[in-house]
Subunit: 340 residues, 2 copies
């Protein structure tokens, strides 16, 4: 808990109008491509000519999707931006404008909202996105955040375009975010039974996995590299849910099957170490964990090498097969299992 | 409570994926101006060339912004669409695409969600809007609805353009929605103390005010008439909050003052009758009530007559003055009061 969080100004003290004013000050009302941002009935954007508008929207509930015990407000602000832009990036798009809705309980102070928006600002700067509007409301029991992001794509890439023979690729590594979540939940249980007043666990040995959980980054770098390499994947999605559910969704939409290789799945050493520490099977995280926000995409075989010259942080994990093949994984021991 | 609401299928029985499928079936994935709607990481819209994109987003919490005791799910669905498109209309825009986020508690059944979306569909048809995407999540204690609407405007109208000498106009009548809310809250208190099992009050004498509360309509008809008459207001906003707060916001943004006339404020006879019945001052509703979703706009004097020939359902309630004048109302008794 930071010092700023220790001062508690109730929102009712400055009112909804005062709070909106404080937020609006942090963001440019007339940024690039924007005629008028925060402050009227609706935001007015510049003309989005020449490419397709993309829109994605998501909702996160306190106690279900985020836990304020171990999530600092500024991290939450950054994370919701990353999660939102990730959907636009996964369509081969460029995120441009962000809209944020918050409904807040009276446990939330002006200082906490300011920390949240400093995280949002950080995210906006990171991805070159502008906050263009939103809404603030009250909630009785749990706070909720809803995010809408607008982007553009010259060539949108869907989940549905994978073709038999394509290589299945994934960026970064998998399982870290869900592994980090389990560490945080374990520390929270310790905290709740310890009688301590402040939640200050030593997370040093889990720095990578906790960071992937609290402040994941959307893979804009991969899309930028694809653009430079002149490569358009046949299908793409972000791994916001688990690898398996993302893969199944992609193959079903593409009316295809696939074979992936367990041995090829990218795992960070710390994720492996932490899984051991937690006495959990690594597959729990790698196959069935969520929130990694890596990109899963399919490329014609011929494009793999060309793309690898441009971008280093991806691996081939398998191959698209005809639909009749089913969705299969060859385990490290050489067995074949069906993924569902 | 309708028969459909009496069957309770838990959402977990068909799962998030099953529920999204049920919803998606009701809506066209490739409607006009839409390349791909519900079902991928983001919606892909057709090019919005030639006019400015407008975006507005709002959040509503159960127990704060809506009460499921007296709000049927299909009415809530229709109302959130009306509230959302009202913001686009208030910018002189045409609403086109809708995005809906729901986070739902386990008190919500598949049947309730279906009723909600039948209301949403009704709203979409009413305003010529297409549902293009959204998100479904879980909530522990209270459900939340967040709505984003995308529209376009050739000539956006802001709150800030009012000029001294302009006529201040308002559509329809004021105060009915908040008066209807008070009736519903009174009936809810009766219900809670009565020991009855089903909330079935006789609302016949309050039909108009209750309808304005539960299923308000956005004033697309006014914008259409302005377009036909070739009239662009100097400023405009919807009366989603109270008349006074909308007026103050408009005059502050326009760096202007104004004088309105209490006697000119449009009030429906049933609102007046119900206020008497509730033993409340009518001003409570007309000046300080919210959710009427009428349009407040300013017109150069010369345009008022021309517009009145095209559109009947508005009245002039006052005049824009220089800022130094302040924001004043002349009461029916001839006194002058400052509005804040």
């Amino acid at each position: 808990m930071s010092k700023t969080e220790q001062t508690f100004t109730p929102i009712e003290k400055i009112g909804r109008k005062g709070l909106i004013q404080k937020i609006a000050e942090k963001f440019d009302r007339h940024g690039e491509g924007m005629v008028y941002g925060i402050g009227d009935d609706a935001a007015v954007l510049g003309q989005l000519s020449g490419s397709h508008p993309l829109i994605s929207t998501e909702i996160y509930s306190e106690g279900v999707d985020f836990d304020l015990t171990y999530t600092p407000w500024q991290h939450l602000g950054l994370k919701v931006v990353s999660m939102a832009v990730s959907d636009i990036i996964a369509m081969n798009g460029k995120p441009k404008f962000l809209f944020l809705n918050l409904s807040l309980t009276n446990k939330v102070s002006v200082e906490m909202v300011e920390l949240f928006y400093s995280g949002v600002k950080h995210g906006c700067d990171l991805y070159g996105v502008q906050l263009a509007g939103g809404d603030l409301g009250a909630a009785h029991k749990a706070s909720t955040v809803a995010v809408t992001v607008v982007g553009t794509a010259d060539t949108p890439v869907y989940r549905s375009g994978a073709k038999a023979g394509d290589a299945i690729c994934v960026t970064g590594d998998l399982g870290a975010a869900s592994c980090g979540l389990m560490v945080l939940l374990r520390e929270k249980r310790h905290f709740e039974t310890s009688g301590q007043l402040v939640f200050e666990p030593d997370l040093t040995p889990f720095e990578y996995v906790v960071r992937k959980q609290l402040v994941p980054e959307a893979r804009a770098d991969c899309i930028d590299a694809m653009k430079i390499a002149g490569i358009v994947p046949t299908s793409m999605s972000d791994v916001s849910k688990s690898l398996v559910s993302t893969l199944v969704e992609m193959m079903e939409s593409s009316k295809s099957g696939c074979r992936i290789y367990e041995a090829a799945l990218p795992v960070h050493p710390e994720t492996r170490q932490t899984a051991d520490d937690l006495e959990k099977d690594i597959d729990t995280f790698v196959l069935y964990g969520g929130e990694d926000f890596e990109l899963l995409f399919t490329l014609p075989e011929k494009d793999v090498k060309a793309f690898a010259e441009q971008f280093k942080d991806f691996v081939v994990i398998g191959k698209v097969e005809p639909q009749a093949h089913g969705i299969k994984m060859q385990t490290a021991e050489g067995h074949e299992m069906t993924l569902t």
